[in-house]
């Protein structure tokens, strides 16, 4: 009743600042009072903050049902920065696009918060620092706050604040275990890499913002430009297309940074160094989708420059295929999912690049569900194996059976196997997630990925080919992962002793699995609920980009059939290789047995994929080394040797010392003292001479008197005579 009143009346739009404020309050409470609260309370506060944020998003969504046009709410009428022609305010925008993102961030975020309470309880003990629990949830809430700022912003600058905020939180959370990792610094380096790659993207965003100011400010009604979306959308057609092209291409650089596309995707696989809930929330469901959101938001500009759109689509498609091939050959369970994320982001970026905004956003939402599910389940698997490892460590019988070949990596799939018997719930939800990702009907991924493929088939055939091949590989590597992890025999003792995760972790998994199953019906063909929902924000959706049923997210039977056939084929191939072939290979002696059946088939190509095409090494050689050389040169030669040693020490210091010595020595002591001494000595001499007058001889005095009298009398006589 209250809700329907809200729909009819003004709605709950005024509540929108709370989506940001609730997480901020949560993190402040944990920062200042968290020391005295126990783990349960810290976790509860964090989950509550995130949950309340989600509730507000739901209320906003409900309000939008009755009033689908965009509403902008200024934050306390606060005119934040107003300098000349520039004005920046904290203004929130409630429209169907932003509320979609808010619901995803809030909903999936809250589920991951709940999972993280259970996960981090084990993780901080596994890594030996229980006190760090609080810090995790402070950062987590900070992330939700920053992401909410990003998606609820009404202007590009507020969006950028959120954009940088999530970059910061990503850095903080990736290097959460900052003293661990390879050589005791690996995690910190991974965080640094993420931040720097994101920064390069931010640079692109800023250049685009500066260009926007230069181009749009003269066109505004009162000469003041505030970067808000409506102004940009309305005035975009009046700006010369070359400027729009420049703006969109620089913005694309920002997108490649944040959403891990070529060429700035290199940070995402390294980001797996962070705890698994971080990978799930930030690097699967939310932060990385910010780039896709940005392109969708800027559709007014992108639709004016087909060249830029083509670039976006191509980068997305090529990244999708590129990352999918790398994922085929990875052995770390999280790395496979990381490359899979890059690949799926490529799908989304390609979709919004082609103009299929609905398809892209739909896939964004679906992907959030099943990728978060997959990451969280992977975390569950990893912790299960770690529990098994703990069992083995404390049981001498089992310890004897374990092969001690160096450090045991609980994340390596080659150490897993047969876990479907030991971790049943995790197995089922993982299977659902994997099938959803592979695109098996009727799970969520089928509908969203199929929509993208359908759009591509009519809009951009080249992109379609790339994406369909990527879809094939996607299904293959997910099948590979399922068979390696859950089927067959346990390949190591800890895997044989693995234990299922507690309910606080498996419950969010189950919820996400249910969402992955039913999510597809959000935009079921002929109902197109989501399309209509987004229509209110992205006008081009309504009339369709290429016209007809196919454009507005229609259902293309041929494409659907093709993708399903390919997916099933890929999974069967994976079954053949990783079940049958592996069994045959077990019969070979240990030294001849390859660790992956694919290696024996495609040999050297497998090595290339396993080494991720040596992208990091190439970047290191081409970019990092020269940069480090340059900075060393500047620091050692220019700054230290030249400025410090030569200029400062030699010229300035020595010169100054010389000058002071000159001034103090010859001039002060010599000249000025000389003058003083000269005067003094002179007077002494004069006095010495004058002293001779005081001879003491009375007769001399008498003579002086006499001479004086003679002179005076003589003068008087001469003058007066």
């Amino acid at each position: 009743m209250l809700l329907s009143d809200a729909m009819n009346a003004g709605g709950y739009f005024y509540l929108v600042p709370l989506v940001v404020i609730f997480p901020v309050i949560g993190l402040l409470i944990n920062v200042f009072l968290g020391g005295k609260l126990g783990e349960k309370l810290i976790g509860a506060i964090a989950c509550l903050a995130s949950g309340l944020s989600f509730v507000v998003a739901v209320l906003l969504g409900i309000s939008l049902i009755g009033h689908p046009e965009a509403v902008t709410i200024s934050f306390a009428n606060w005119n934040w920065i107003s300098i000349g022609n520039l004005q920046l305010d904290w203004a929130f925008r409630v429209d169907t696009l932003s509320v979609t993102m808010m619901l995803v961030v809030g909903g999936v975020g809250t589920l991951i918060h709940i999972y993280a309470v259970g996960y981090m309880h084990d993780d901080v003990r596994h890594n030996g620092d229980p006190g760090r629990f609080r810090r995790f949830f402070v950062y987590f809430n900070l992330f939700i706050a920053a992401m909410m700022i990003l998606v609820s912003a009404n202007n590009y600058m507020m969006l950028f604040i959120g954009w940088e905020g999530v970059g910061l939180c990503s850095y903080l959370l990736i290097s959460f275990w900052y003293e661990k990792g390879k050589d005791g610094i690996g995690n910190a380096l991974a965080g640094k890499k993420a931040f720097i790659a994101n920064r390069i993207g931010d640079f692109g965003f800023l250049i685009a913002a500066f260009l926007m100011f230069k181009a749009f400010q003269p066109l505004t009604a009162n000469g003041v430009f505030s970067f808000d979306f409506d102004t940009v959308a309305n005035l975009a057609s009046k700006v010369p297309p070359s400027t729009i092209l420049a703006i969109t291409l620089f913005m694309l650089l920002g997108v490649t940074g944040k959403s891990a596309q070529l060429p700035l995707f290199v940070w995402l696989p390294d980001a797996m160094a962070g705890p698994t809930p971080v990978s799930a929330l930030i690097h699967a469901a939310t932060m990385v989708t910010a780039g896709v959101y940005l392109v969708a938001r800027s559709h007014a500009m992108y639709s004016l420059v087909p060249v830029a759109q083509n670039w976006v689509a191509m980068i997305g498609a090529v990244t999708a295929l590129f990352a999918a091939t790398i994922a085929l050959a990875q052995f770390d369970i999280k790395k496979v999912l990381a490359y899979s994320t890059i690949s799926q982001l490529g799908f989304m970026v390609a979709a919004v690049g082609m103009g299929a905004y609905v398809a892209g956003m739909f896939h964004l939402v679906m992907h959030a569900f099943f990728k978060a599910l997959l990451f969280l389940s992977a975390g569950s698997v990893i912790q299960g194996v770690e529990r098994g490892e703990h069992e083995v460590e404390h049981d001498p019988n089992l310890r004897k059976r374990m092969k001690h070949e160096g450090h045991f990596d609980p994340q390596d799939m080659r150490n897993m196997g047969g876990l479907r018997h030991r971790m049943k719930t995790t197995f089922w939800v993982y299977l659902i997630g994997a099938l959803a990702l592979a695109g098996i009907v009727p799970l969520a991924g089928f509908w969203s990925k199929d929509e993208i493929l359908a759009e591509a088939s009519t809009l951009n055939p080249f992109v379609f080919v790339l994406l369909i091949i990527a879809a094939f590989f996607t299904a293959f590597y997910m099948g590979r992962q399922i068979f390696m992890v859950f089927f067959g025999q346990a390949r190591s003792e800890p895997a044989a002793q693995a234990k299922e995760s507690p309910a606080i972790m498996t419950l969010p998994l189950i919820i996400l699995a249910l969402l992955s199953i039913v999510g597809g019906f959000l935009n079921f063909p002929t109902f197109h609920t989501f399309t209509t929902w987004l229509e209110h924000t992205i006008q081009s959706v309504a009339e369709g980009v290429s016209g007809g049923e196919a454009a507005a997210g229609g259902f293309n039977f041929m494409v659907a059939a093709l993708s399903t056939v390919l997916a099933l084929g890929a999974i069967s191939l994976a079954w053949y290789l990783y079940m049958r072939r592996t069994q045959e290979m077990q019969k070979l002696p240990l030294n001849q047995r390859p660790d992956d059946p694919l290696r024996s088939i495609i040999g050297p190509i497998f090595s290339v994929l396993e080494n991720k095409y040596w992208v990091d090494e190439v970047y290191n050689f081409l970019l990092i080394r020269p940069y480090q050389w340059l900075s060393k040169f500047l620091a050692e030669k220019v700054d230290w040797a030249f400025w410090h040693d030569f200029f400062h020490d030699t010229i300035l210091v020595r010169g100054f010392n010389g000058l002071t010595h000159l001034l103090s020595g010859p001039i002060d002591l010599g000249l000025i003292d000389g003058i003083g001494n000269f005067l003094g000595d002179g007077f002494k001499e004069l006095a010495a001479q004058m002293r001779k007058l005081q001879s003491g001889f009375v007769r001399n005095y008498a003579l002086s008197v006499f001479i004086g009298v003679v002179f005076i009398v003589g003068y008087l006589i001469i003058r007066l005579g």
Partner: protein
């Protein structure tokens, strides 16, 4: 009466002798005598011109000079006696301890 410049000449000669005596002689009493001589030379000049101008002023002034001379000699001789008591000599060249 003789022309006045005869008396003036005599006074001048006497004065000069007295001045030379003050400057040259070392004996304190002789210096006093020379001073008396100078004073008397001045007296002579005064009296001569008093007669010449037929005025009493000059002669009155001689009385002043004689009085002053007498007082000064009294004091001076007392000083010399005191000095003799300390230095056993009245040679003015020896009274030179007040030198710079």
């Amino acid at each position: 009466m003789l022309p006045v410049y005869y008396y003036l000449g005599l006074a001048i000669i006497l004065f000069t002798l007295g001045a030379l005596g003050v400057l040259i002689r070392r004996n304190a009493i002789v210096i006093f005598m020379s001073i008396e001589l100078m004073l008397n030379a001045a007296n002579l000049a005064f009296v001569a011109y008093a007669r010449y101008w037929q005025s009493m002023n000059g002669q009155i002034f001689v009385f002043f000079i004689m009085t002053v001379a007498a007082a000064e000699v009294a004091i001076g001789l007392a000083l010399i006696v005191t000095i003799f008591k300390t230095k056993a000599s009245i040679d003015v060249d020896q009274i030179s301890t007040l030198k710079g």
